[in-house]
């Protein structure tokens, strides 16, 4: 009874609009149920939990299968981590050739993607006119959307011949890490550029004005004020880029070569960890075969590698960050 009465009063006052002064109306501060809010909140929670469990699931599967590899198949972890030969046929499971190829291709990719990506980001955020930016940013985003298989064949049919014509056919193998790495760099460049540009654009305008007001040139403002202030975001971009390079599969599978090769020579063919997984899992593999288990061990190592990268970068960021405001 009482409830209804008070509800009626509050309805009245709502109908009457702003009439708080009139003494009779009682202010209704009761909790209202908001089913929409709850549904949305539940859904968001579900999304968060789902992605968390997916990750945990992946780690569990990886861990479990690699455990099989190390326990059932008589491959010791030290052998796995320090061996320089990967020949499953004769029971050699040294990861180093695959790891080295991954590092070499990623390193070459970073040589391309980091300086060019950051340079392009500085150009876009500090130099480009609003019109140029409006045209260039979407172009970059299109570049980021090209399927990696296309890049792979671009490496094989354009980059490799180009390298061969520069360094000679004898030096440059048809399948080689340099071509794969360079093209991988081109693939990652838009990502580095776009993320770095976001970081630079987020630096407050007032800091730039402060620098210009002291007689700084555009370049000085960009390199001495804006880039340091946006450094945490730039490092984040770099780390994502490295993880991307380490995990990239198609380009290296197509252009870097099929067969482990323990070498630092960028013009030699060599197989990366991802390339190897792709090739092996592409064939007929029986579950429980040692080959099958070995790719989970490689996957686990890849996972740990990116994990370490991410954690290391966080420390780095905390150390060098210039906090504005």
């Amino acid at each position: 009874m009482d409830d209804k009465a008070s509800a009626g009063v509050s309805m009245d006052s709502r109908v009457a609009g702003v009439r708080r002064e009139t003494a009779e109306t009682t202010l209704n501060l009761r909790k209202k149920s908001r089913p929409g809010e709850n549904v949305i909140q539940g859904f968001l929670l579900f999304c968060g939990v789902l992605s968390m469990f997916t990750t945990i699931g992946i780690v569990l599967v990886l861990g479990n299968e690699s455990l099989h590899f190390f326990t059932n198949d008589n491959v010791s972890i030290t052998e796995f981590l320090t061996g320089t030969q990967w020949s499953p046929q004769i029971g050699q499971f040294g990861i180093l050739p695959l790891l080295l190829a991954t590092l070499v291709t990623s390193f070459i990719a970073m040589l391309v993607a980091l300086p060019l990506g950051l340079g392009a980001a500085i150009y876009l955020s500090e130099y480009a006119s609003p019109r140029a930016r409006k045209i260039l940013k979407p172009v970059l985003e299109v570049l980021a959307g090209v399927p990696t298989i296309v890049y792979g064949y671009f490496a094989l049919t354009f980059m490799t011949p180009l390298l061969q014509s520069i360094f000679g056919k004898d030096t440059v193998n048809i399948y080689n890490m340099a071509a794969a790495g360079l093209v991988m760099g081109i693939m990652i460049l838009p990502l580095v550029c776009s993320m770095s540009e976001d970081a630079l654009s987020a630096v407050p305008r007032s800091l730039r004005e402060g620098a210009y007001g002291l007689g700084a040139t555009r370049l000085e403002t960009a390199t001495k004020i804006v880039v340091p202030a946006g450094l945490s975001g730039i490092i984040a971009a770099f780390v994502v880029a490295i993880s991307r390079a380490v995990g990239e599969t198609m380009i290296v599978a197509v252009a870097a070569g099929a067969g482990p090769n323990f070498t630092l020579n960028p013009f030699a063919s060599a197989e990366t960890m991802t390339g190897h997984i792709a090739r092996i899992s592409g064939g007929d593999l029986s579950y429980d075969s040692i080959d099958y288990n070995s790719i989970f061990a490689i996957g686990m190592l890849l996972f740990l590698l990116t994990l370490v990268l991410n954690m290391g970068s966080r420390r780095l960021v905390r150390r060098f960050r210039e906090v504005y405001e």
């Binding site: 800091l207 620098a211 002291l214 007689g215 906090v323």
Partner: protein, 261 residues
């Protein structure tokens, strides 16, 4: 030239446009050397625009365009051959909101000298930093924490850091755009005292919408209003005492007595 002995800056028929919008209509203003000149007027009347035209800060706004002349050392700052970067080294600026760089206090001060080709030794730089901080009345507050971030200071200290930073490049003129509007009254008074000190060696132009501040702290005052086309114009310009006690224009009187604006 005698006018340039007495005056640091002379604006001659200076009009400023943002795109097709005329924000400032034909301003003539002589800024006397070693004096504090205040620009007052209601908000939006173009005070900041005028101030930013004095060191070519408006170059950074792509749509902005200046007509007329600003004379500095007998040269028009807007002549085609003049380098805006050189202009800004000689005509420094302090902004409305303190904007220290996210670097140490020391590096904030050293930034200007370093980019203008500082050749001295480390100890000389130490001296310059100390000297600049002393001149900005900040040394005693920060001498034990020069390595701390400039952002760790209070608002008033940050603004004095920005002043010290401007002083370190040894400009002739310091432009201040409402430097106290984000500060508490005590910090405001400190900055005003500081300005009094600084005018011995520098020419100061300050934008303020605080009438008491203009009356207290400035030697000359220019009063701006928008005309019918919303372009800012100078209504009255003269010694601060005269303008506040004996305004010639009715609109000035209305404004300073608080009847509009």
């Amino acid at each position: 030239m005698t006018t340039q002995d007495r005056y640091t800056l002379n604006a001659r028929n200076m009009s400023v446009f943002y795109g097709s919008f005329k924000a400032i209509n034909s301003v003539n203003l002589d800024i006397e050397r070693n004096k504090i000149t205040a620009l007052i007027g209601p908000s939006g009347c173009g005070k900041s625009t005028v101030l930013r035209s004095f060191n070519r800060m408006n170059d950074l706004v792509p749509s902005a365009r200046v007509e007329g002349e600003v004379i500095f050392h007998n040269q028009n700052l807007y002549a085609p051959h003049v380098d805006a970067v050189e202009v800004r080294r000689r005509i420094g600026m302090v902004f409305q909101k303190p904007n220290p760089f996210p670097k140490s206090i020391y590096d904030n001060i050293a930034f200007g000298p370093r980019i203008s080709g500082w050749k001295g030794s480390k100890t000389e730089m130490d001296d310059l930093v100390e000297h600049s901080l002393r001149n900005a009345a900040l040394w005693d507050d920060v001498k034990d924490k020069l390595k701390a971030s400039g952002l760790a200071l209070s608002g008033g200290q940050q603004q004095r850091l920005c002043i010290a930073r401007a002083l370190a490049v040894e400009p002739e003129v310091i432009l201040m755009d409402e430097p106290c509007s984000a500060l508490d009254p005590i910090s405001t008074l400190k900055i005003e005292e500081l300005m009094m000190e600084l005018k011995q060696r520098y020419t100061i132009v300050i934008v303020t919408h605080n009438m008491q501040q203009a009356a207290r702290a400035s030697d000359y005052t220019a009063f701006f209003l928008m005309n019918a086309e919303r372009a800012g114009e100078i209504v009255e310009y003269g010694p601060t005492g005269d303008l506040f006690t004996n305004p010639k224009d009715k609109r000035t009187e209305d404004y300073i007595t608080g009847r509009f604006g």
